[in-house]
Amino acid sequence: MEGKLIALKLFLDTLEIDSSIDTVADRKRVQKAVYLGQLSGVDLGYRFSWYVMGPYSSPLTRDYYQLSDELETEDDPLNGKSLLPDAIARLTIIRPLLQKRTDVDLSEEDWLELLASYHFLRSVSGYSPEKTAELLRERKSHVADYIDRAIESLSAAELLNMANAA
């Protein structure tokens, strides 16, 4: 298996994210988990753009289909490799962010969509907190009740420090 796919699989494993991609919900979970995981500083090189479901990377889509296929058919897909200890340490620090809070009544993938979308709109799009919340309420009503909790979680992980208000 190619080195970049090995790195992707180990990255997801360390984040304790299931790499299956059978459904749209599965694929959304992987997309948003990789977006959030890369915020740890472990950069797999995926760049994200804004699409209907929030941050989305076309190269990641191609890679996870290929990964899924390789995992099904390869005897030793990881080729005896592990992530560097430094990468594991960084991902371990950010891992609790990806775990759904007990006070949030959303599916795992919707929670990740909310976290990733809020972070993207603030730090990449450069929107103010008010504009971000307004846009999420308008376009993502299915997660809008939990915007405050997403802000709490992202702040606790120190991921909103760099966000610039528009």
């Binding site: 190619e2 790195a7 749209v24 472990v42 950069d43 090189g45 699409y51 289909y65 430094d86 594991i88």
Partner: protein
């Protein structure tokens, strides 16, 4: 309407008019650099005229962007100010400014090299996690859109030109990188965007292939915006949209998937990876940022990379690397020894069949390597998948199965399709959901392709047919 400051003669579009800020942007060193980055990589080794640069393509994208906006204004009740039009035009003009030399081939090599640095053998001695200078930091790399963003922001000359005309780098790159929810969901990065349209027309013009004879004037005249702000076509343009997508399929089949072009692109990726491994080239994020901030970025083009490959050729003691470098420098492409190609539904069954076949050939390569005394590094099993929508230069076979052209429950993918308006509802649907379209039949098909290439030294070229015959026999005995 943009105020014209300069006109440039173009073989595809006639005269391309530029505003004052655009005329100044194209005079910056970072933009002039694009004259030295070929749009089609090594395709000119097969089609001698296919050596046009990202410079002329970028001018074309800027031009088509305005034509699309004019059509949207004429055909729909939308308000697009001159200021917005200027931003979209600048985004079109600058969308490729961050491409590496030889574009996608080099980006693939950089990706593979730096991603692999994040892993180690599981049995390796554990080293403590480190801070900013750790391998995790060194392994960071930038894709071309990210580099483009850095060029706009951190190249002083480019930034100053934009600022002097009242634009910020952010307002430009946020459009081409889709960093904000767009005004029109699919104006940028779709099957019908200015980038893909100019690519098709320009490639056809320069290769001499006939597939660019698309009725662009009619296509543009039928573009409009639906009630959900999707850019779409009127139903009258259904045939010309089918024609555009078919033309692009044939164009990719004949150019990017050409057996010699694809073989050369493979060795180019291998040679660039060898350059990175040997330390003759550094494309880490840190190194690229230093290039961009200095004048080194302005000369980082195809010619500079060829100079690096010459240096590698002179210094390497590895015979396979030397042969691959010669393949590029002397046009000695790898030889095609076997090929399996067929059009079939895009599904898991077919993707799995091709994957299993590839694994079988991969295993046999070891035997053939021993039998013919040709090192394993000189063999390559190439896989490609070509589709009628969202065509890429090389889509992994496994991605074809589920990367279906029309999956109504996967909105991020269907957003990129050509859309046809239903005038009764003022909403549009992806072309493949319209039963009158050719794409409703073809969009779920793909051309599956497996090829076996070998890099042969000059003194062994006469063995080619013998080796190919043996491989053919072995593969057909099973």
């Amino acid at each position: 309407m943009i105020s014209v400051a300069k006109g440039i003669s173009d073989p595809v579009h006639g005269t391309i008019s530029l505003s004052e800020v655009e005329a100044r942007v194209i005079s910056t060193r970072a933009f002039q650099r694009l004259r030295g980055v070929k749009q089609l990589g090594l395709a000119s080794m097969v089609y001698p005229g296919a050596d046009y640069s990202r410079f002329s393509h970028s001018l074309g994208v800027c031009h088509i962007t305005s034509r699309i906006i004019t059509a949207l204004r004429n055909n729909s009740d939308v308000s697009i100010s001159d200021e917005q039009e200027q931003r979209y035009r600048l985004a079109g003009l600058l969308h490729d400014v961050g491409h590496y030399p030889f574009s996608h081939a080099m980006e693939k090599a950089v990706n593979e090299h730096y991603s692999a640095l994040l892993t180690q053998p599981a049995t390796a001695e554990s080293t403590p996690a480190g801070p900013a200078n750790s391998v995790v930091e060194v392994a960071k790399w930038l894709d071309h859109e990210s580099i483009g963003k850095e060029v706009l922001r951190d190249n002083a000359e480019m930034r100053d030109v934009l600022n002097e005309h009242g634009h910020t780098p952010e307002t430009v790159y946020q459009i081409f990188a889709r960093e904000q929810p767009p005004d029109f969901s699919n104006l940028v990065s779709s099957d019908l965007d200015a980038d893909r349209i100019d690519f098709l027309l320009r490639t056809a013009r320069h290769t001499g292939l006939p597939y660019g004879a698309v009725d662009l004037d009619y296509l543009l005249s039928q573009m409009r915006v639906d009630g959900s702000n999707h850019v779409c076509l009127s139903p009258k343009a259904l045939r010309v949209a089918d024609h555009l997508l078919l033309a692009r399929y044939f164009d990719y089949q004949q150019v990017a998937f050409h057996k010699t072009v694809a073989g050369l692109e493979w060795v180019l990726v291998e040679v660039i990876k060898a350059l990175l491994s040997a330390g003759l080239l550094d494309c880490s994020t840190k190194a690229m940022r230093e290039r961009i901030a200095s004048s080194q970025w302005d000369t980082f083009d195809d010619t500079e990379l060829i100079t690096c490959i010459r240096a590698l050729r002179e210094s390497t003691h590895d015979s396979a690397t030397a042969l691959k470098a010669d393949a590029i420098l002397l046009r000695r492409p790898p030889k095609l020894m076997n090929e399996i190609e067929y059009l079939a539904p895009r599904d898991k069954f077919n993707a799995g069949m091709v994957k299993n076949r590839k694994r079988d050939i991969d295993r046999r390569v070891r035997d053939w390597s021993d039998e013919f005394g040709i090192p394993i590094e000189q063999w390559h099993v190439w896989e490609g998948g070509l589709t009628f929508t969202k065509v890429g230069s090389n889509v992994p076979i496994s991605a074809l199965a589920a990367d279906t052209a029309y999956d109504p429950i996967d909105p991020d993918k269907t957003e990129q399709a050509v859309r046809i308006l239903d005038p009764r509802t003022n909403q549009s649907e992806p072309i493949m959901s319209d039963k009158r379209s050719l794409m409703s039949v073809l969009a779920d098909k793909a051309l599956y392709s497996l090829r076996l290439y070998v890099v042969l030294s000059e003194d062994r070229l006469n063995e080619r047919s013998t080796i190919a015959a043996k491989i053919h026999r072995d593969l057909n005995d099973t």
